[in-house]
């Protein structure tokens, strides 16, 4: 039976994405003293906590309104009120995010309204309660992520006097990546508000005493003041305008927006550095120049190996764009580019990158791993780059996987993967190159044997 190639799918076989509230949790984990509740049956929050904990190796406290059959008939407001009371009492958060689930949305609970009623009932005029509609069927975790960041900004930002700092809005990157962005900003002497900042909260050092809410995260006051910034730099080229916090700050408060690619690879990092120099009027720190030089040195060393790679790149749209560009820069031309999201921006952005690839590239959106696997087989892919579920490609097709993005649930250290900036890019490329080399060392005898004794022609340079 031919599979439907339209937006309307029947089977999703081994998904390449998760649901909206999953993505919505992450930004709240990057806000100082924040807690988050999923309004729905408790399974949602339990399942998502489990998966996020496995990626970051951190405790992930997410509340639930634990809706049951009664709530589906009479509405869930009472449960949500109770959940808010209990969370406030035990965790003493300074901000609470409320995400909805399939259940809350299908029964038509208006969480925005419930949140307002709650604040009124409790006499809490100033308490930031950020409600985000994230039905599981409304999009993937990528959209959920951006929707939550958008609502946090829209909920907190207030007209503020100009303060000259810069807003940095980041997609779902690793805590190590966030730390790297902060390091670059500090090196360049930039005053900034980075949102959401999971660098400390989701990669927490062992430190006593243990606190219920991890220290760190973007300060609430800093978010409130984002409208007073000199500019916003957002790494969100694939984000639709309606979900883009940068666009919101621009249209509501006139903060100029520089919507940039994730600073991964030479070109994209150069772009960030030039914009920062432009905005701040400063000069390039010597240390950063050296890092750029080292990255170039790494790329010169590695290009001969990487050019033998035919890559499949998959995951969140923003990261897919960054990874595909970075690989292409070093001559590892992607053969398959895929995302589970229905993001239309990615395809448009990818076109010029794909046009430069010497061979045809298969682009898949709303992809599942069955379609990615078929594409990899057709394209003779010999290296996969993306999150852990790509291990299916290794198991079934023998294609080695470089783990990258979210979630990484079968390896440790997802939170420590550094892949951006000049230094991070070099580390990313090394991981890719070494995976190709390992695979080559592992297989070359067999490949030679097949080639010379049996006359098989290898595809995609596996030997």
């Amino acid at each position: 039976m031919p599979r439907e190639k339209t937006h309307y799918r029947n089977v999703n076989e081994n998904p390449c994405n998760m649901c909206m509230p999953m993505g919505g949790i992450l930004p709240f984990k990057g806000i100082e003293d924040a807690m988050v509740i999923i309004h729905g049956s408790q399974g949602c929050s339990t399942y998502m906590r489990r998966h996020i904990a496995e990626h970051f190796n951190e405790p992930i406290d997410v509340g639930s309104s634990s809706l049951n059959e009664k709530g589906t008939i009479y509405g869930g407001a009472q449960n949500l009120f109770q959940a808010l009371n209990n969370i406030r009492r035990v965790y003493k958060p300074r901000l609470i995010g409320i995400l909805t689930s399939c259940l809350a949305e299908t029964i038509g609970d208006d969480v925005g309204g419930i949140a307002r009623d709650y604040l009124k009932q409790q006499g809490l005029d100033e308490f930031p309660l950020v409600a985000v509609a994230t039905p599981g069927y409304g999009g993937t975790h990528s959209e959920g992520y951006w929707m939550a960041v958008y609502k946090i900004v829209a909920g907190l930002a207030r007209p503020t006097a100009k303060h000259g700092g810069i807003n940095i809005i980041v997609p779902n990157l690793s805590p190590a990546d966030i730390r790297e962005i902060k390091r670059i900003l500090e090196m360049m002497g930039v005053r900034y508000t980075l949102l959401p900042d999971i660098s400390e909260t989701l990669d927490r050092p062992i430190a006593r005493p243990y606190t219920k809410i991890p220290p760190g995260g973007t300060g609430l006051e800093d978010i409130r003041c984002m409208p007073g910034a000199a500019a916003t730099i957002q790494f969100g080229l694939t984000v639709e305008e309606s979900l883009s916090p940068g666009h919101y700050l621009q249209s509501e408060f006139g903060v100029p927006l520089y919507n940039l690619p994730v600073p991964m690879g030479v070109e994209a990092t150069d772009l960030l550095v030039s914009r920062l120099l432009e905005i701040t009027g400063g000069s390039l720190p010597r240390a950063l120049e050296l890092e750029r030089g080292r990255l170039l040195d790494c790329m010169v060393d590695s290009h001969k190996y990487n050019a033998q790679g035919r890559g499949a790149v998959f995951g969140d749209p923003e990261l897919v764009y960054a990874m595909a560009r970075t690989c292409a820069e070093n001559g590892l031309h992607p053969a398959v580019v895929a995302t589970g999201s229905g993001n239309s921006g990615l395809k448009r952005l990818m076109e010029p990158v794909l046009a430069e690839c010497p061979e045809d590239v298969l682009f898949l959106d709303q992809a599942d791993f069955m379609s990615i696997r078929t594409a990899c087989r057709d394209a003779g892919v010999n290296i996969a780059i993306g999150h852990s579920d790509g291990k299916f490609l290794t198991e079934k097709e023998g294609i080695p996987l470089v783990r990258m993005g979210f979630p990484i649930h079968d390896h440790v250290g997802g939170q420590r993967l550094l892949s951006i900036g000049y230094t991070g890019t070099a580390m990313f490329l090394d991981r890719v190159t070494n995976t190709l080399l390992d695979n080559k060392h592992k297989n070359y005898r067999a490949a030679m044997y097949r080639k010379f004794y049996w006359g098989f022609k290898e595809r995609g340079h596996t030997c």
Binding site: M1, N12, P15, G43, T46, G63, E69, T106, Y137, K212
Partner: protein, 545 residues
């Protein structure tokens, strides 16, 4: 260290008054002075406490159905729940025909907004056609997630139609997440449907072996079931089906031929055990394959049930041989573990079972509990007549089965059955509390806040639970052992499993890592040396150089 009423109050005082009253009923301190200690369980979770409980879907698709390897388990709903229940329990399986093992596949209708508005039945029906075409499974299950029940998709109807169309056993499970109070509701839903539509559908009439058994409530996490099966086969048992670890539709449909059903996880599968007894006259025996005493006793009880001298003797031989193999291996680990204390909080049976194994290593369990168990799992089945059914449990109706006219057979005479019941846990489970020590704490539905507080007070040496809560104690500097998925280790069941467990736990205590948490500059001076009078100019010269 024992906990006092005052300390308990201190923990609970942080809650609003109503929550405090509620939670207090879920916590008890074992008191031998009391005849029967009552605990509240299987009631609604309090919203906003960070519970470890999941939902009905997790219990049905995730736990009971998921491990059945030759079936494709379709998740009808938006993508999240299918993703989150994809290979997350480490239930292993192997098949003779590699094309009949579908565990690595996550198959979902991936409902979009339009499906929620216009209904997803047609999509589901088309999808079943595709699944039959692509996978050629032996059977198919369809599990519903929250919105399906709310929008009124008739998945039972779709399954019926597909059954007729494809001539395949296709069953549907209305296990929407909001049903019941935890995953326990989902176990019940799965039990009912498996009993109604699959068990007994096979045409086997006679047991394939002399001592044919089923193992119920064993999910083959980390290969547990394989280790247990190794020993059982050596004694001479024929295992018809394991429910559901490494289980298959092909075996399950003939589950009725067994002469005895073993129940490992009472909570998730006691419904089927009871129904098998009513319909086919097959009694069930509560077993515990975790720990040396647990498995030895279980094996002896099985042999007594069959009452065959040769079997009894063979059982003793195997136990003796296994013990001779493992005892020397356990010794070094016991030295490391002796005198330590543990928390043991798991889902519905392991919170109890692992206490025995801990004890054998010299570790005392000071706090234990279940996420989603019922009162009978704590207090024993004798409380069943006194458990009040509330609205939530009524929502999951019991399936009433009657004796199968053709296949019902008394496996042993009634008098002997009555006699045996006095000696072995035949069709009975005495629960966790009975085996716990005076002063130890039992907590139902332990949440993150209480976890932290109990750790502060009791300072256990090891915390054994799951991935969601293990990072809290780890951050506090306390070793943990995941008892849901064994931190990618295992098997832990059976004789050899006990050694694996001992090794892993001892490794947790012995890793040098813990020694480095306190930095040297906090406990000792950074520079060590003595100050000598500087008689010559040497010091100055050195500094100057």
């Amino acid at each position: 260290m024992a906990i006092s009423e005052k300390m308990l109050d201190e923990i609970l005082n942080k809650y609003p008054a109503k929550v405090k009253r509620n939670r207090k009923k879920h916590i008890l301190v074992k008191d031998l002075g009391q005849d029967q200690q009552e605990i509240e369980a299987n009631t609604r979770t309090i919203p906003g406490v960070i519970t470890n409980r999941g939902c009905a879907f997790a219990g049905c698709k995730g736990v009971v159905l998921g491990p059945l390897k030759d079936m494709v388990h379709i998740v009808h709903g938006p993508i999240g729940c299918a993703y989150y229940s994809w290979l997350t329990r480490r239930n292993k399986a192997k098949t003779d025909d590699p094309k009949k093992n579908f565990l690595a596949y996550c198959v979902s209708t991936d409902m979009q907004e339009s499906d929620i508005v216009f209904g997803g039945e047609k999509k589901l029906a088309r999808m079943i056609d595709e699944v039959v075409e692509v996978f050629k499974p032996n059977a198919i299950t369809i599990s519903a997630t929250c919105p399906v029940g709310l929008i009124g998709d008739d998945i039972q109807g779709v399954a019926r139609a597909a059954r007729d169309k494809h001539g395949l056993n296709i069953t549907a499970y209305n296990c929407e997440g909001y049903k019941g109070v935890s995953q326990s509701a989902g176990h019940h839903i799965a039990n009912n449907n498996l009993m109604e539509h699959i068990i007994g559908q096979g045409d086997l009439e006679e047991p394939p072996g002399r001592y044919t058994i089923n193992i119920l409530g064993e999910y083959n996490i980390g290969g547990d079931s394989w280790e247990v099966e190794r020993v059982l086969s050596e004694i001479g048992y024929e295992i018809q089906v394991v429910m559901t670890g490494n289980g298959s539709y092909e075996k399950l449909k003939n589950a009725h031929v067994a002469q005895l059903n073993l129940v490992q996880c009472h909570r998730s599968i006691n419904y089927i055990a009871d129904m098998l007894e009513t319909r086919y006259g097959t009694p069930w025996l509560k077993v515990n394959f975790i720990g040396i005493r647990g498995i030895s006793e279980s094996l002896r009880n099985m042999a007594r049930y069959f009452g065959d001298e040769a079997l009894i003797q063979r059982t003793e031989e195997v136990i003796e041989r296994e013990l001779a193999e493992i005892e020397p291996q356990l010794e070094p680990y016991r030295k490391i573990c002796a005198g330590k204390t543990a928390f043991c909080f798991v889902g519905g049976s392991r919170g109890h079972h692992y206490q025995g194994l801990y004890e054998e290593l010299g570790i005392t369990t000071v706090l234990a509990g279940y996420e989603f168990a019922h009162r009978d799992d704590y207090e024993g089945r004798e409380v069943l007549p006194h458990v009040k059914t509330d609205a939530d449990s009524k929502n999951i109706p019991d399936l009433h089965v009657t004796p199968d006219e053709r296949r019902y057979r008394l496996k042993i005479p009634v008098e002997r059955m009555d006699e045996l019941k006095k000696e072995i846990p035949l069709s009975n489970y005495n629960g966790m509390i009975e085996e716990m020590m005076e002063g130890s704490i039992v907590v139902d539905d332990l949440n993150h806040y209480e976890t932290e507080e109990f750790i502060r007070i009791l300072k256990p040496d090891i915390f054994s639970s799951g991935i969601k809560d293990k990072y809290i104690p780890q951050k506090m500097g306390i070793p943990t052992k995941q008892l849901h998925n064994y931190d990618y280790s295992g098997p832990y069941a059976g004789f050899r499993g006990a050694v694996n467990f001992a090794r892993d736990v001892a490794m947790g205590f012995a890793t040098p890592t813990w020694n480095f948490i306190e930095p040297p500059w906090k406990s000792k001076p950074l520079l060590e040396g003595t100050i000598e009078p500087c008689s010559t100019n040497k010091c100055a010269e050195e500094v100057g150089a």
